[in-house]
């Protein structure tokens, strides 16, 4: 028996997508021969201008999870279109480009530039980054802003796009409905949760911006709930993101209604995660159907 999953009219033999910010543009993984098992890869965030990112440390571990404060570090869309996308053309799987902006207008501006490249399969519109002052999750908290961004993006591309939502502010279901109204082809549920670590001896937070994005296998039930509620609220497909560390997690998110499932933090630990997860999923489905 063969299993298929579908996204934006295309069929894949795996439900696994590599999450933004944890797979680069897929090139390192291609070199390591670690892309098999992945249906697609979402790039790190692309912004209009080159962005150095936040001051280190950018990764801080807590007892049961990870705080990151990368801050959308990337060389800017021009450089990406010029040097990275041509290289990414040799990827064996589709590339979805993750896009961020400091203003509402920057989203279509970035995408217009990306449109010149034949490489992107689609876009993920990141209105939910917890690690930047301007834009980021502030956008995602406001349904009207989400709708406006989706509408602007929709007007400059015919490629499919997903809007990546925030769990930190506002209502994720209302934001999803706004994205749908604005013309998004799917939503990604969701970005990292706002988290923080404090050194009680010094009274200081290791992250320079104090708060960061928190991810952990222990957050899976939070994603399951948000995926389920979002699926009830919209008719466009939902991509799940958050907390996946084993094949059962993938199946749980699919059962909650997701069409595909992203893996991020776990991929940093296991660059071969996509293959492991896909195989595990298929094995479980086969054993279940017996």
């Amino acid at each position: 028996m063969r299993y298929y999953w579908e996204l934006w009219g295309r069929r894949f033999d795996s439900p696994i997508i590599l999450a933004s910010g944890t797979a680069g543009f897929g090139l390192e993984l291609m070199e390591q021969n670690n892309l098999h098992g992945a249906a697609a890869v979402v790039s790190k965030a692309t912004t209009l201008k080159p962005t150095p990112g936040n001051p280190p440390p950018r990764i801080v571990e807590t007892k049961f999870g990870l705080l990151n404060s990368i801050g959308l570090a990337n060389p800017g869309v021009d450089e990406i279109v010029k040097t990275i996308l041509p290289e990414a053309d040799s990827l064996p799987i589709p590339l979805i480009v993750n896009v961020a902006g400091e203003t509402v207008e920057e989203f279509p501006a970035v995408i217009e530039k990306l449109e010149r490249s034949p490489v992107p399969f689609g876009y993920e519109v990141n209105v939910s980054c917890p690690n930047v002052a301007a834009g980021g999750m502030v956008f995602g908290a406001s349904p009207s802003t989400v709708e406006e961004i989706a509408r602007l993006v929709n007007s400059v591309t015919s490629r499919p796009f997903s809007v990546k939502l925030t769990p930190n502010e506002g209502s994720i279901t209302e934001a999803a409905q706004a994205a749908e109204t604005g013309g998004a082809d799917s939503v990604t549920v969701c970005n990292t949760f706002l988290g923080m670590k404090m050194n009680w001896r010094t009274g200081r937070a290791p992250l320079k911006r104090k708060v960061g994005g928190y991810s952990s296998p222990a957050l899976l039930p939070l994603t399951v709930a948000r995926v389920y509620k979002t699926c009830e609220a919209v008719d466009i497909p939902v991509l799940a993101s958050g907390g996946v560390s084993c094949p059962e997690d993938v199946l749980e998110l699919l059962a909650a209604g997701a069409v595909m499932v992203q893996v991020g933090t776990w991929l940093m630990r296991r660059p071969d995660a996509a293959g492991e997860l896909r195989e595990g999923v298929v094995r479980l489905l086969e054993s279940d159907s017996q």
């Binding site: 790190k44 990112g53 280190p56 990764i59």
Partner: protein
């Protein structure tokens, strides 16, 4: 698989891992491995360790227990298998000519493999105390400890006051950031241009994807410790900024 485990100093361990031939070939001095320290999911990320040396079928790492991950690792028994990624990153440029190796504490962990691949004139090692001072056989070494329990009493920089910098055409430097910065500041400018530092940063992936391991670059922006480094030209780093991020 952990072929051998030894506590060489209190809280400092030497692990020998059996590895494949392909792995060995790439285990060049200065490169590192990412070790999955626990079988459970926490801590979530792997832990990076310099490849200390290689033999015909194994590599060694030397590490100090400083926190949860290294504690868990130290509790792993001989004969157990651990997931290990690598060799990763860029190692030392193995230029010809005489080398000076300067190591602070565990910074010297990578020197055995390096010394075996180059013409090592002198190795200078510093540590807080005797119990933190690595010993590396067969190489001319001068040691200094802060408490005087082994070798001279003082800091590495004290030992370096008498060094004839221009007799070395290559310098390898590894240790705490403040120590490395002090060493570089006391060097003649020409020596700086031939100094390679082995950098450390908290890592996410270790293989270039996450932008987590940034080190402030001399030209602005950031370098990735894991793929631009860990071994970097001393002049590629913005030392003031780098020291700053470590409070």
């Amino acid at each position: 698989m952990i072929a051998e485990k030894e506590e060489i100093l209190p809280g400092i361990f030497r692990f020998e891992f059996e590895v494949s031939e392909g792995f060995l070939r790439k285990a060049e001095p200065g490169r590192f491995v990412q070790v999955e320290v626990s079988s459970g999911p926490f801590p979530v990320t792997r832990r990076p360790f310099t490849i200390s040396s290689r033999s015909t079928d194994s590599i060694e790492i030397i590490f100090e227990v400083v926190g949860r991950g290294t504690k868990t690792l130290a509790e792993t028994d001989e004969g157990q298998s651990l997931r290990m990624l690598g060799p990763l990153g860029h190692g030392y440029k193995l230029n010809s000519g005489e080398w000076l190796l300067i190591g602070g504490g565990l910074g010297a962990a990578g020197f055995p493999g390096l010394a075996a691949s180059i013409d090592c004139g002198l190795m200078i090692l510093g540590a807080a105390t005797k119990n933190r001072l690595l010993t590396i056989d067969g190489i001319k070494t001068r040691a200094i400890t802060e408490d005087g329990s082994s070798g001279m009493k003082g800091l590495v920089t004290d030992l370096l006051k008498t060094v004839l910098w221009d007799s070395f055409s290559n310098i390898a430097l590894c240790g705490p950031i403040a120590m490395m910065k002090a060493v570089i500041e006391m060097m003649p400018v020409e020596s700086r241009t031939v100094t390679q530092v082995s950098a450390e940063a908290r890592m996410g992936c270790g293989w270039g994807a996450c932008e987590g391991c940034s080190i402030p670059g001399a030209d602005g922006g950031y370098l990735k410790c894991c793929t631009d480094g860990p071994v970097l030209p001393a002049l590629a780093v913005n030392w003031d900024l780098w020291e700053g991020i470590h409070r």
